[in-house]
C-alpha cells in the first residue's frame, strides 16, 4: 500500500486556514476567535496524544489495555451525552443511563462485527476494535443524547396528557408512548439522513482515509458499508435502550410521573 506520508511541518500551511477563520472572526466581530483557538489547540493535543496511545496499544495487543481504552471512550461518550441535553435527569441516573446505553450498543455491535465479519487475530486486536468502537460510539452518542433530550422535554411539556392517561388507568408505557415514539424518531433521524446522503453529498471520512492510504475505492466502500450498517444498528439499539430507560426513570413502580427527577432547566 503506497500513500503520501505527512510530516508535522506539512500541517503548518493547512493550519493557516484556521488562522484565517480567526482573522475573519476578529474582522467581523463574531467573537469566535477565542473558542476557535481553544478548540484548535485541544484538537491538536488530543489527536497527537491519541496517535501515540494507539501506537502503544497496537504494539501491546493486550485485552486489558484494549478494554481500558474502550471503557475510557464509553465514559467520555456518556459525559458528552449529558452535556448535550437541555433538560436532563437528576444526579447519577443521567450518567448511568448514558454510559449503560452506549456500552450496550457500542459493545454489542463492535463485538458482533469483530466475531462475525472481521475476525481479527486475536479477536480484540485494538487496530480493529478501537476504531470500530469509536465510530459506533460517536454516532450512538448522537442518537442517545437526541432521544433522551426529546423524551425528557416532551414528557415535561405533555405532563397533563401523561397524567390524565395514568389517572384513567393507563400504564406508564401507555402514557409515555407518544413521547417515546417522538424521541425514537428524533434519535434515528440523523443516522437515516446520513445514510441517504452518503456518497452523493459527502464521502465519509473513513472511506476517504482508506483511499488516501492507497486502498482500492471498491474495497474502501465495502468497509464503509460495514461501518454504516454497524452504526445504524448501534444507534438503533442505543437510542431504544436510552429512551425506554429514560421512560422508566421518569416514572416509578406505581406508574406515577416523576418530574421531580428532572433537573431544573436553568441548571442544565
Amino acid at each position: 500500500m503506497n500513500y503520501i506520508q505527512l510530516g508535522y511541518s506539512d500541517l503548518i500551511l493547512p493550519a493557516l486556514l484556521v488562522v484565517m477563520n480567526g482573522v475573519l472572526s476578529i474582522a467581523l466581530q463574531l467573537k469566535l476567535e477565542r473558542q476557535l483557538a481553544v478548540a484548535s489547540v485541544r484538537m491538536v493535543i488530543q489527536l497527537v496524544l491519541v496517535g501515540y496511545v494507539l501506537t502503544f496499544l497496537f504494539a501491546a495487543v493486550s485485552l486489558l489495555w484494549t478494554a481500558l481504552a474502550a471503557l475510557i471512550m464509553v465514559l467520555f461518550a456518556s459525559r458528552e451525552i449529558v452535556v448535550r441535553q437541555k433538560r436532563r435527569l437528576l444526579g447519577l441516573w443521567t450518567y448511568g443511563l448514558g454510559a449503560g446505553c452506549t456500552l450496550l450498543a457500542g459493545g454489542t455491535v463492535t463485538m458482533f462485527s469483530l466475531l462475525t465479519q472481521l475476525r481479527p487475530d486475536p479477536w480484540y486486536h485494538p487496530r480493529y476494535a478501537l476504531p470500530l468502537l469509536g465510530m459506533i460510539l460517536g454516532n450512538t452518542m448522537t442518537g442517545v443524547s437526541l432521544g433522551l433530550d426529546l423524551l425528557v422535554s416532551g414528557v415535561a411539556r405533555e405532563r397533563a396528557a401523561v397524567d390524565s392517561c395514568l389517572a384513567l388507568g393507563g400504564t406508564r408505557y401507555q402514557a409515555l408512548l407518544p413521547m417515546i415514539r417522538d424521541a425514537l424518531r428524533g434519535g434515528f433521524m440523523p443516522t437515516i439522513n446520513g445514510m441517504a446522503a452518503i456518497g452523493l453529498v459527502s464521502l465519509p471520512g473513513m472511506m476517504t482515509g482508506q483511499i488516501l492510504a492507497g486502498v482500492e475505492p471498491v474495497d474502501a466502500v465495502k468497509y464503509q458499508l460495514l461501518i454504516m450498517f454497524l452504526i445504524a444498528g448501534g444507534t438503533g439499539l442505543g437510542t431504544l435502550a436510552a429512551v425506554i430507560g429514560g421512560g422508566w426513570l421518569l416514572t416509578d413502580h406505581r406508574h406515577r410521573l416523576r418530574l421531580d427527577r428532572i433537573a431544573p432547566e436553568e441548571s442544565s
Binding site: E158, A161, C165, L168, G169, H255, R256
Partner: protein
C-alpha cells in the same frame, strides 16, 4: 367503602371513610391542598399512609387497576391524541354520555386544539364516567361550566351515586357543596381536614 388512614402528601394529612354512594364535598382556599389530597388518594403522586377499597389495600393491586377503581378527574384534563374520538375506546358509549352533558354528537371529530375549557372539562369527565369506577375524585369539575352544563354534570354524577359510586367533589362554590354533598370537608391552609355541618 373507601378508607383513608393518615394519608400524607407534603403539608396535607387526612383520615376518613367514604361510604358507597356517598359524596364528600371538599372545600378550602386555593393552595390549601385539595388537589394534592385527591391525587394522593388516586396514588398519582408519592405519598404515605394507607388507602383501602372494601378493606383491600391499594398496594395489593397494580396502580393502573387501582386508578380504574378510584379515578381522579383533573380540573383541566390532558389530551394525548389529535381529535376527541381518538381518546375513547368505545365512542358510541362516550357519545351518549357526552350528549347528556350538552355536547353534540359531532364532537368526536373535533380537533382537541379547538376545544374550549368547558368542553375539555366535560369530555374529561366523560372519559372517567366510562370506566364505571367505584370512586370518583372530581377536582372542581364544573369550574368552567355554565349553569345548565353544571346541572347536567351534577345530575349524571348523582345517578352514578345511586348505583353505589362514592364521590369526593372539590369545589369553591358553597351552594354547589350543599347541593351535591352528603358530607362537607373543609381544608385549612395548613392541610388539615375538618368535617363541617352542611
Amino acid at each position: 367503602m373507601l378508607t383513608v388512614r393518615e394519608l400524607t402528601r407534603l403539608q396535607i394529612s387526612a383520615s376518613f371513610q367514604l361510604r358507597d354512594g356517598e359524596c364528600i364535598a371538599l372545600q378550602g382556599p386555593s393552595g390549601a391542598g385539595k388537589t394534592l389530597l385527591l391525587r394522593a388518594i388516586a396514588d398519582l403522586d408519592p405519598n404515605e399512609g394507607s388507602v383501602e377499597l372494601d378493606g383491600k389495600p391499594r398496594e395489593s393491586m397494580p396502580a393502573p387497576a387501582w386508578r380504574r377503581q378510584v379515578t381522579y378527574v383533573a380540573t383541566e384534563p390532558g389530551w394525548w391524541a389529535d381529535t376527541v374520538r381518538d381518546h375513547f375506546a368505545a365512542w358510541d358509549q362516550a357519545m351518549a354520555v357526552a350528549e347528556r352533558l350538552g355536547l353534540p354528537s359531532s364532537c368526536g371529530a373535533w380537533p382537541i386544539r379547538r376545544l374550549s375549557t368547558g368542553e375539555r372539562q366535560r369530555l374529561g369527565l366523560v372519559r372517567a364516567l366510562l370506566l364505571d369506577s367505584r370512586v370518583l375524585l372530581l377536582d372542581e369539575p364544573t369550574s368552567a361550566l355554565d349553569a345548565a352544563s353544571t346541572a347536567a354534570v351534577e345530575t349524571i354524577v348523582a345517578e352514578r351515586r345511586s348505583t353505589g359510586t362514592g364521590v369526593i367533589w372539590s369545589t369553591h362554590d358553597s351552594a354547589q357543596a350543599r347541593r351535591i354533598g352528603s358530607r362537607l370537608f373543609t381544608m385549612a391552609s395548613g392541610g388539615r381536614i375538618e368535617e363541617r355541618q352542611l
